[in-house]
Amino acid sequence: MIPFDYQRADDAASAVATVAARADAAFLGGGTNLVDRMKLGVDNPTLLVDISRLPLNAVDVQPDGSVHVGTNVRNSDLAAHPVIRAHYPALSQALLAGASGQLRNLATTGGNLLQRTRCVYFQDVTTPCNKREPGSGCSAIGGYTRYHAILGSSPECIAVHPSDMAVALAALDATVVVVGPDGERHVPVTELHRLPGAHPERDTVLAHGELITAVHLSPTGASRSAYRKVRDRASFAFALVSVAATLEVTDGTVTRARIALGGVAHKPWRASRAEELLRGAPATEDSYRRAAEAELADAVPQGENAFKIPMVRNTLVSVLRELTPTEEQR
């Protein structure tokens, strides 16, 4: 850990101006991931601008039914919010599946989206990593790949995004509100994170100095939604794979499904090919399996993570089966 300066921000605009003006400055939210990386020498900011005390910590239900979540809302508070639990169960479940109780009490909404991969080579400064040190090579390829990507990877990087919450938000069509030096913009969560391509060092489309101030949840029907996280350990483990889904069924036919996958790619993976196949299909296990297999048709395993392909398929089928209305519910 290198010496660094610390400032507490007075407001979002000045925080943005301060960080934008200095290449090695960083925003500090809950600190549950950034501080770890600093201890490991993975990130070496010389200035931390603490935004965690800015009054961006409300969950506001708008007149149209949409929900505005301030960036500083703690993961545990968001998971427990009655509106989130009732209308966006996949989000609440995803939050509660993440980290540990202690970490969820500290971690913030914006910070959760911006946590960085847990690839062991990214976190170990004694091994090459293109994400940490562009051009140095990818140690994960040919190495320990149990947790790595099967979709959308590149020869430069096979890391996965570690967030559970982001997977639920991707399925729920959430957008993030971003404030930068040039003003405010809205970015769909599905477009916030990048695939690695030739620049794995860039996790998101955000420019340096841009600050997520809120997450916006649309008022669409997500009350029939679920998040399932598959992991070896019952708690405090990153996903091997995860599935967030909403399902709408009319007269035994899928009218709309929204699906995002976690633990499979450099970003929360919106399964649009599966969604397309499901639209108008009978709400049966057979349809679900075909949709899952179509989504996974281009999957490329890395050494020891080939199990993720059947695991995603089974988990997706399992979640959709669970979301399918029973006879009584129709």
Partner: protein, 693 residues
């Protein structure tokens, strides 16, 4: 032999003497020992697995304000004895494994020391390394003996003929991965050299072990090295012997005389130099007659050691005594790799060895069409098969029957894959446990009397087990005085010599020494001593272990659920019933057994240190990636023990409890997984992908 102790305080439920201090945070662990104006040491580790250091650049680090010195092999103090190559820290430029200590920064604050460490630049000449244990290696060799001084190989009868003629055979290969002990408190040392005496406040399982080992290396008389460990936050064997970091801390003290040097390993560093459980590849062959009586037992173990120093685990030893059988062969073969030295981890030998042989018993039961408990009943030996000695006590079957009653074994379907509930396959599994009664000679105890109080001194260490409490109970009964009249002093090499807290031998070895001292004290000073009198005694030789085979036994039964879609494994219920001799303190014994079973669950489902063969080090070296069972994984653990005492074991009638709890848990779980799903997983850990359909 000293007379049996009449139990009064022994056997009663006593809160930990150190409990309030620990839960309120006031207990002093090694790193927290108050010292004035300390300096801080941060180690440097090699980033190659084999080769030599060709250049050292410490200029940037030394230029940092607050840095006092940077130690490397170029300027480190010379050690007096380098015969133990693992502990010969910074004596040469040679690198034998990745993560080896190659230097240290000493600075005014831990932050500066850590930052400066990142600014030291070492240049290496790298040589090819080899860090992976696999069965096809051509360099396995036969060690002279295995840990504990056991014979490397045994062979009795004619196993090949017996296997040929057997009605039923099992031939299966099991593997266990590298595991790291990871006590909650990392290894820490505070070292102070005053020019005459080196004091180490150390997180260790044996203060005298550290002194005896390190004094000659450092060129000190034993009296010049004092080691203190009042509270230790777990060790599980990794603190049983000093490791290279202790030498580094001592060197740091030597170069900053008069100022205490503080060093705490990070969690990542816990995967480098403080020992680990060797990976094993174990082939088990059983032959049996049509009724399930064993006619052949073959247990062949492959494991790793280090080029630096040999450590050969005694993995096949329990197979020598566990079941009756006329034809038996056991062997250990070791490959010396470019890795750190393996060491003790809770029940070395018994834990991985019994995993394979007990899992194979489950396979044999299935092959014979027998209930797995009934198979064990049929192979119960009347005397110790290895020595021919009578058992002091062997109550394995009572443990199995009681365990079966507690878990509802009679409702278990005989065939696997019979129960699917809410999308989970459900199964029950069983395993036997055993652990030997280890006695370590050499402990002394001193008892003094003043003003109605007995001071009991012995250099034992409580590593979280409850020794502070149990030894006071033993002393009270040995002295025939109230428990609250005993003032116990432990955890300091200035106290009378005590052996290590290892091999589940502490209570026996220290308790017998205390008992002998109490007997001498009463002989010398009577029931109404005068103020200021004292007696000191060494642990007498115990005839019981020479005349009888003394082992603890246990039964572990578990319910396992395997998710039909995802393969995830959960363990809602575990039952452990143990025969461990007299229980000194039910409260702390219960904790030891629950802890052992939890660690066994963790071994079965989670723990594995992943070595990347390209780099040569453990890459999943933190608690996010190296999984240990979390609260969510541990549900209902039902622990009980038989009401007994062992008259042959020691004057207290006790046997050890620290390790038996982990022995057998993993085999019970893999057997339950098979019962649930029909799938045999032989390579630990049992992760979800291995059960995915």
């Amino acid at each position: 032999m000293t007379a049996p102790v009449q139990p009064h305080a022994i056997g009663t439920d006593q809160p930990r003497v150190d409990g309030v201090a620990k839960v309120t945070g006031s207990a002093t662990y090694a790193y927290e020992h108050p010292v004035e104006h300390p300096v801080h040491l941060h180690p440097l580790h090699s980033t190659i697995a084999r080769g030599r250091i060709t250049a050292v650049d410490t200029s940037q680090a030394e230029a940092l304000p607050g840095v006092l010195t940077v130690l490397t092999h170029l300027n480190a103090p010379r050690l007096a004895d380098t015969s133990d190559a693992e502990l010969a820290v910074l004596q040469t430029a040679d690198i034998a494994y990745r993560g080896q200590l190659v230097g240290a920064v000493i600075a005014e604050t831990p932050e500066v020391a850590r930052h400066a460490a990142s600014l030291v630049h070492l240049t290496y000449h790298q040589q090819p390394h080899d860090t992976v244990l696999h069965a096809d290696r051509d360099d396995f060799y036969t060690p002279e003996s295995v840990n504990g001084g056991f014979e490397t190989d045994t062979d009795s009868g004619d196993v090949e003929s017996a296997l040929r003629e057997a009605a039923v055979t099992v031939d299966a290969t099991y593997s266990t991965p590298t595991e790291h002990n990871n006590p909650m408190e990392p290894h820490t040392t505070v070292a102070l050299w005053n020019g005459q005496v080196l004091t180490l406040f150390d997180s260790t399982q044996g203060v005298h072990t550290v002194r005896t080992t390190l004094a000659p290396i450092l060129g000190l008389d034993p009296e010049q090295l004092r080691v203190v460990a009042l509270n230790v936050g777990g060790g599980f064997g990794s603190k049983g012997m000093p490791h290279p970091h202790n030498v580094l801390a001592a060197m740091g003290a030597q170069v900053t005389p008069g100022r205490a040097v503080k060093m705490a390993l990070t969690r990542q560093e816990m995967f480098t130099v403080v020992g680990y459980r060797t990976p094993t590849i174990q082939r088990v062959r059983y032959g049996a007659d049509a009724d399930g009586h064993l006619t052949a037992i073959v247990h062949e173990v492959l494991e790793q050691s280090s080029t630096v120093k040999e450590f050969a685990e005694q993995t096949a030893v329990p197979a020598r005594m566990m079941y009756a059988c006329a034809n038996r062969r056991t062997s250990h073969r070791v490959a010396a790799l470019d890795v750190a030295v393996p060491s003790w981890m809770r029940a070395p030998g018994e834990c991985p060895g019994m995993y394979a042989t007990e899992a194979a018993m489950d396979e044999l039961a299935a092959a014979c069409g027998l209930d797995p408990i009934e198979l064990r009943v049929r192979n119960e030996p009347e005397v110790d098969p290895e020595t021919g000695k009578p058992w002091s006590q062997r109550r394995l079957l009572e443990c199995l029957y009681e365990g079966a009653r507690r878990i509802g074994w009679s409702d278990r379907a005989p065939q696997p894959r019979a129960r699917l509930e809410d999308g989970w396959w459900v199964g029950l599994g069983v395993s036997a446990s055993t652990y030997p009664h280890n006695v370590m000679p050499g402990s002394h105890a001193k008892i003094s009397y003043a003003a109605g109080r007995y001071s009991v001194q012995i250099g034992a260490v409580d590593i979280g087990t409850g020794a502070w409490t149990a030894l006071a109970q033993i002393a009270a009964d040995a002295l025939r005085c109230p428990l609250d009249a005993v003032d116990l002093q432990i955890g300091d090499s200035a106290l009378p010599m005590a052996t290590v807290a290892g091999g589940s031998s502490g209570t026996t070895s220290w308790g017998t020494a205390i008992t002998a001292a109490a007997e001498l004290f009463r002989h010398d000073h009577g029931e109404h001593p005068e103020d200021g009198v004292h007696s000191e005694a060494v642990m007498p030789e115990l005839p019981g272990p020479l005349e009888t085979a003394i082992h603890s036994f246990g039964a572990q039964l578990v319910e396992v659920r395997v998710h039909a879609d995802t393969g995830e494994v959960r363990v809602p219920r575990m039952v452990g019933v143990f025969s461990v001799g007299r229980v000194v303190n039910p409260r702390t014994v219960r904790s030891q057994l629950i802890g052992g079973m939890t660690m066994g669950l963790s071994m079965a489902l989670h723990e594995q240190s992943i070595t990347d063969p390209r780099f040569g080090h453990v890459v999943n070296h933190d608690f996010a990636e190296y999984h240990i069972a979390a609260h969510g994984d541990v549900a209902d653990i039902d622990v009980s023990w038989l009401d007994e005492h062992d008259p042959h074991a020691n004057p207290m009638g006790t046997r050890g409890v620290g390790e038996i709890g982990i022995v057998g848990t993993a085999s019970a779980i893999v057997s339950a997984v098979h019962h649930a799903t029909g799938t045999r997983v032989r390579d630990l850990p049992v992760t979800a992908d291995k059960l995915l359909e």
